[in-house]
Structures are given as C-alpha cells and as structure tokens.
Symmetry: C2
Subunit: 518 residues, 2 copies
C-alpha cells in the first residue's frame, strides 16, 4: 500500500514559493465558502513518527484563517475523560457547522497504540475499526467533511530523520516515553497502519497518503489535497444518502388500525393504595441504597423517560429522586437545543452532558425525540430519523461499555385517561404550566405516535439497553413498576460488577489508554 | 449570631399541608416570571452537618419546575479542575439567564474546610472571603439573584440527628471520611461559620439563617424565603449600580488632544533585516524550548494580543506559533459570542475555554474587548465597562495564582502606517479577507480608542500581569520585541517554579482541597 508514497517526490524552493501564495489565496477563499455554507470540517493528521505532523499543522495554521479553526492533540486522558465513554473526548472536539477541527491522530491513535503494544489482537482491532467507520459515516451524513492524512516515511528515511531530531532539543520525539516509540518496530507499525487504513478508507472519508520525505512537497500536497476536498464538498451541498430500504420491521404509516406493541399493554392494571404505600417505601429504601452502591462502584445509572403527554413521567421520576441523595442524581429535562447544539450532530448535546462515573442521570425525554416528535412533526427528514436508530444503538452501546446501567421507560396511557389528566391539569393551579395547546394538538396525532413508538422499541430495545413499557393509567401501578424494574436491574448489574464489561460482547481495541503519544 | 435560629420553631403536619400547595403554585408562577425576565438564580445550600441540606434540595426539586434548574455538589475535584484556576469549577455551574442553579456549599465549602482543618489562619480565610464578596458582587451586578441559606442545628439537636442517621444506611453522613466530620468540633465549626457568614452577608447577596430542627418548618421557610427573594428581584429588573465615581485616573472623553501613553511611544524604531533574521532564529529556538519546559512544569502560558487594526497582531502571533509544537499551543480568535455565551456574565466565555495546565493559549483579542470596542461603540454601558477593570484584574489574578504566566501585548501603529497597511490589504488577494468596512469606520474613532487604551493600561497593568506596549510601525522591530519579552518573562517565571505562588502575594484559604465533603 505504501509503495505509492515511496517514489521520492520533491519540490524545489523556487517552485514552492511560486505555488504557495496562489494556494493560500485559494484556501482562504474555500474556507470562507465553507463558513458560509456552514459545513464542518475534520482534518485528521496521522502517520509515522518524525514525518513532521506538527510542522504540517503549523503550516495549516499559517495558511488558513485561524478564526473558526481549532487544533486538538490527544495526549494523556484526564480523569473526567476516563470516567465517560471513550468517544466523549472526541465529541468534545467536533467542529460546529462552518468550523474546522484539526485532530492529531484523532480516534485512530488509541487502537493503533494498543495493537502495537500487544494489548489486543487483529480481531479486536477490526471491531474498533468497524466502530470508527460507523462514527465517520454518522459525521459525514450529518454534513461533516472528513479529510484524513497519513504521512509516510520509508524506514531508512525515518531513521535518518530521527537521528537528526535527536540532536535537536526542539523535538517532541525526545520527550516520548520509550513504549510509544513506534519507530523501533517499523515492520509491525507498518503492518498495523496498513490494516487500519485499508479498513477505514471509505469513499465518504478517504485516507490521503502523503510522502513526507521532502517537506516542501509534503506541505504543498497537503494544501492542495485539502483544497480539492473542500471544493468537491462545496459542489455537493448535501451528503449522499442511500435510499431508505424497506425491511421486515417497516410499518405502513397510512394506517391507524395497525396493531402495535402498545395495544397489547393491559392498561387496566391497578394497585391498591395500601399495597402501593408499602411497596413504595420498600423500593425507595432499596433505590437509595443501590444509588450509593453504584456511586461507590463508580457505575453510572442512566434513566430515560419517554411517554405519552400526561403519561406520568414527572411523577415517576419524582418517586425516584425523592429517595435518592440530591447530590447523586441529576434530572435533565430536554428542551429546545441552543444554537451551539444546533450547530452539531443531534447527539452532540447528549454526549456533552454525560455525567462522571457513579452518578444517576435522569432524562425527562431524550435522544429518542429524533424518532418520535421529530419524525411525527417532520422536523427530521426520513433519512435522518431512519439512520438515528443505529446511531442511538451505537451511542447506548458505548454508555454501557463504559459501565453505565441504562434503563429506558415508555409510559403509556389510554386516550381516555389522557383526556382526564389534561382536564385535571387545566383545573389545578400548580399544574397549569404543564399543559399547552401543543399537548392538545399532539393528541390528534395519536396513531402516528403509536407507530413511531412501536418502531422505536422494535429497533432500539437491545439486550444491553432494553425498553420497559409501563402501563400508566393507574399512577401507583406505573410508579411501582418503574421502581421495581430499576431495583431489579441495579441489583443484578451491581452484583456483577466484577464481570467483564457489558455491551455487545465484542472486544474492541483502544480502551483505557493512558500513555502519552503523538 | 445563631441565637435567632435556636428558638425551636415548628409547623404542624396540618399547617404544612395547608400552606404547601399555595406556596408551590406561587413558586411556580415566580419561576415562570424569572424565566421570562431572563434572570439567573443561584441558590446556595450550606450549614451544619445533618441539618438536612439534601432533603431541602429534594424538596425544591419537587416544588419547582425542574426545566431550567440544575443541582451541583462539589465533591472530589477532577484533575481537569485541579489544572485550572480554582473558580473554574464554579463558573462551569453558573446558570444561564432565566435558569436556576442550586449549589451545595458552593464557593464556601473549601475555605470552611481548610480553616477547620487548620490549613490556614483567620487572615487567609478573610482574604478568601473578600474574594467571594467580589465574586458575588460581579454576579449580582450582572443580573444574578444570589440566595444563600445556612441551616442551623444546636449542638444537642445535631448530636441527636446524627445518632438517628447512624442507625440508617441511607445516610451520606456515614460515608464521609473522618476528617470532614465538622460535628466533632462543634465550637470550632460554629466559630468559623459565624466568621464566614458575617463577612459575606451583604445586601446584594444576603444569608438566610434557617432553623433546621423541625423539617416542616425548615422546608416551608426555605420555600417562602426563596419566593420572597424572587419577588423582590422581579420588582427590580436591574441591579442597583453605584454611580461612577470620578477618580484621578479618569480622563475627559471629549478631548482628542489628550496626551496618552501611546503618544509617548517612539514608533520610528526599526530593525535591520539581517539583525531581524538572526534575532528571530535565536528567540524562536528559545521559545520552543521554554514552551516545552513550561509543559513539563505544568505551567500555562497565556498571551493576550490587543492592538490597533492592522497593528500586526496576526504576524506577531505567527512568529510565536511557528516556533512552538502545534500540540502545545492554541490560538483563540475572539469572535461574536454564541447565544449560550450571551446568556452569561461576559467573562464566562473566557473561563470556559481556559486550557489545562502546561499549554500555551494565545488570545487574538480578548476580554479587553469590554473596555475597548464595547466601550467605544457603546455596546457596554458605562457602569458595565467601568466595573470590568476590577473584574478583569480579579480574573487575571486567579490565572496567575494558578501558575499561569500571563503576558499582554498592545500593538500600536501610527495613523499613516495603518492607512498604508489597509491599502496593502485591499490589493493583496490573500489579505483581502482581513479588511472590512468596519476597519475604515474604526479608524475615525482613533482618539476615542487612544483614551480607552490609555485607561485600560493604567487600570489593568498589574505587577503579576503587566502590559507591554509594542511600537508596531516596523514589523520586524515589533515581532522581536514581542518574542524577546516573552522569552524574558518565561525564563524568569520558569526558573522560579519552586517559589511561592505568584499573584497579589496574599495567602488565601481554600486551595487544593481534594477531600470529600458535604
């Protein structure tokens, strides 16, 4: 693969000067158009040691307008990063629409390092690379331009460059810990690099191999390639989306007679007041205890509450929170996104507020808005909400891999009971703020919501993050079902804290890297 | 002081129920008005152990609408927090306009703990309390409502409550490390608490002492007090601002004949091309070396560049960044604030992006916009930009206390030279993006800018963060002056890394708390 980057291309000083100013003018022009088109750009700078990745980035900082451009290196991980799913640190660096992020190594660094150090085998590396492909697809489908550079040096050239650098105090290379010195096993590194590039070189996010021996050739080629990639992206304002494919799970939207999961719920289930009081006390004690145990074991608890309007989400949530120490939980009601949030992938706002390990976080509505209200109201296009299912599954898998216990509740009420509650809200002073015209309008879309819920549950109820459907006509019954389910899941999860990381069961390369590297 | 909170007030179950619903309705109504008026609210919950602070917060979460309300506890500090000025963790939790933040202990916890543990004396405690008063003043002047609750229990009542809690697994108290048990030295704790309350009980941010023996009385009183405070704030849409006082530094704005610091610069200073090349190479090598040393010593470098339009900021910055490893520095060009940023104090956006220890961060324009462009263009009111001087000094002091080396450069050019550069920019393709109509308009306000700069330098050039005025008509001269100044400051600062924390020289209570507490 690297043969093409070993032909010894070079550019004379004179040629470099002649081409530089023109290139710079064009890059600035392209950058301005990017900003206007609100296209986010991710540039990944990777490659062999001593290829001059830092020099290239300095060059880009010189040629481009630094407004709206940020550079990120991923050295030692902070404990805040360690206590969240691994990709949290990357989501933190994603550019807003119209901005550019230059990432040293990006999400490629950890898997390469781990494989190089022998912490995982090729199969685990491949599993992680598959995740990367999914991640980059999600980014490009969301409009990002992803440009990946791999800088290559032949073994003799690298040796010579390192020798030169070792005489120079100004080199980062000298400061790296021994274990990160890829150059000492050039063959192994090349083997891994080739595997990584081959598996992640997709049309939507291609790798560009750059011969790094001649610095002028290297920098000019990077500039020209970037310019070309930006121009191509500008001509194609929307990412190519595959047509939605029909599959067995798909439901016709036109019918309201469709039988859904929700129709099979027995909403007549009830709980007597005395029994309710006894069970409430019992489960609240247990939830309190389990929340402390989770804190001590550094396991996060993530609860998602979705449900029909007036389905009883708030009441169920309060029965949990009133039992838990106020310093341990956080309720996140999902409101309209801010402009910073709108300028990113729709999952960005949820990544952004992920708690540190050991805390309970309760989402009052959640990322499922994408496949519920945004789908029904047409705020998201069909391709957008369709691809959201797998994006959500991937997101939740990462949460669970990180040790979170994730529970998702759908609270369902009958149309009659909802009507009764709406009327009650209008009549009770301190409940009035809960009812708006929108609630009445949503009621008319009941059949559409039912179909959306049905598909959501079918597509996102996974072994590691199952949905619990809650019969909500009787509030005591619903609250106890929520509490009991929560206690049961936590009990099981926390007892097995010594067990291997849950999730899909696939071992992936790249976890818990704490060493420093380029 | 606490006598008033020891009179044994109580509320019967019946009375509580009778008052609760009405209070709740009123609180919700007040909260809605707060949101509409875009007033941010900070509620601090502090007091003796076992007073039920967690219960009170749970109660507020039950009574209020949790949308737009967040609770924060300040337990163990993360390394990301440790590597930034101490108040970074508080700035992270400040509510946006129209939202509510409930803080356990808030900025009071660390100084109380430190004084209690004997890590500092009363004088150091007082110094920290003075900082708190400044901080809370800045918040209230920016529109925040700050409500501080102190929950009190007499020693026998506390002992009884702790005994009760110790029989109960559900108590946070049992999990606290021994050292944090304030209750074991009740007298000392009361002494410190009284000092803290006395010195920070200001009209703009008063303390409310709440007798915590009877839980119903406690919760009702908190609810009513909060309601009262919100209502009072709603009636007074703008914070009271003292009239701007004339002082020796003040300059008449009407005159353009005023002699300023800038007039005293010798703009004719020049550097020959050969000398420039030699010095540039020499200082760039040194900057590279010093940046690595700073990284290894975990000292941040913060550079602020302000200057006339076309004053050469960009060129000077590039002469630094091209010498430093791209992984070590970040350039932050200050653009228009986002809506999240506009919803906070104007310094919030700068706190937000503070780097972790050991990195170089370069501000291309900065928080000084408040006293420059915002002053001259009238974007900030006179009281706003006037109080910005001390807010900025306080901010910079915290940066320096945290170990940052802070340098501020003002790049000045003559009117003639500026004109020449404007014309050059219009004629050079890749420089055209740098020149806008606004630049031409700003030029007409030259005398006003000169006065603003003069006052800025006079009021914010401190021993720990001095301004360097740079004669910018000759670019080589200016660039070398910037590089030389940077090298000199870094050399001195890094040599003295073992010296005591720089800054105002005042020892303050509350540093480097890592222990857990309420």
């Amino acid at each position: 693969m690297f043969e093409a980057a070993k032909v010894g291309r070079s550019v004379s000083k004179q040629d470099f000067k002649a081409q530089r100013d023109e290139l710079r003018t064009q890059l600035l022009e392209a950058q301005r158009e990017l900003t206007e088109s609100r296209i986010p750009v991710i540039v990944i700078v990777a490659g062999v040691e001593a290829a001059g990745k830092g020099e290239v980035v300095n060059r880009l900082n010189e040629w481009l307008d630094t407004r709206g451009m940020q550079t990120f290196a991923f050295w030692d991980q902070s404990d805040e990063e360690n206590e969240r799913p691994r990709y949290w640190r990357f989501w933190r660096t994603l550019p807003a629409r119209g901005e550019i992020a230059i990432l040293f190594g990006g999400w490629y660094l950890a898997p390469i390092e781990h494989r190089f150090a022998g912490h995982c085998d090729d199969a685990a590396l491949d599993a992680e690379l598959a995740r990367i492909v999914d991640f980059e697809r999600a980014l490009t489908q969301d409009g990002n331009l992803v440009v990946k550079f791999w800088f290559h040096l032949s073994e003799p050239d690298q040796k010579a460059r390192l020798k030169e650098l070792s005489r120079d105090d100004r080199s980062r290379w000298k400061m790296l810990p021994k274990k990160s010195k890829f150059s000492e096993q050039y063959q192994l590194f090349e083997y891994i690099a080739e595997r990584v590039i081959r598996q992640t070189d997709r049309g939507i996010a291609p790798w560009y191999l750059i011969e790094a021996e001649d610095k002028r050739y290297r920098d000019l080629t990077v500039g020209k390639t970037l310019l070309q990639a930006i121009r191509a992206r500008l001509k194609q304002p929307l990412p190519i989306e595959p047509p939605a494919t029909a599959d067995p799970l798909e439901l016709p939207e036109s019918t309201s007679a469709q039988i859904t999961l929700l129709d099979q719920l027995d909403l007549s289930q009830r709980l007597e007041r005395d029994e309710y009081k006894t069970l409430l006390k019992q489960y609240q004690r247990e939830v309190n205890d389990l929340a402390w145990r989770a804190y001590n074991q550094k396991r996060s608890i993530v609860l998602v509450f979705e449900g029909a309007d007036a389905g009883g989400k708030g009441g169920a949530i309060r029965r949990i929170t009133s039992a838990v120490d106020a310093r341990l939980y956080r309720t996140i009601p999902i409101a309209a996104p801010t402009d910073e949030e709108k300028a990113h992938h729709y999952l960005w706002r949820f990544w952004r507020h992920l708690p540190r390990a050991g805390h309970m976080i309760i989402y009052d509505r959640s990322w499922y808005g994408r496949v519920l209200v945004e789908r029904v109201e047409g705020f998201a296009s069909e391709t957008e909400w369709r691809r959201a299912y797998s994006e959500i599954n991937e997101f939740e898998e990462q949460l669970v891999e990180n040790g979170a216990v994730l529970l998702k509740f759908w609270l369902q009420v009958s149309e009659d009971e909802q009507l009764r509650r709406f009327q009650d809200r209008e009549q009770t002073p301190y409940k009035q703020y809960k009812i708006t015209d929108e609630d009445w309008r949503n009621r008319e879309k009941w059949p559409l919501y039912k179909l959306a819920v049905n598909e959501m549950v079918a597509r996102t109820s996974t072994e590691y993050a199952p949905w619990t459907l809650v019969e909500g006509d009787d509030k005591p019954f619903a609250r106890i079902k929520v509490l009991r389910t929560l206690c049961e899941r936590l009990r099981t999860a926390l007892d097995n804290s010594a067990a291997p990381v849950p999730g899909s069961g696939i071992t992936r390369c790249g976890y818990q890297t704490t060493q420093e590297a380029t």
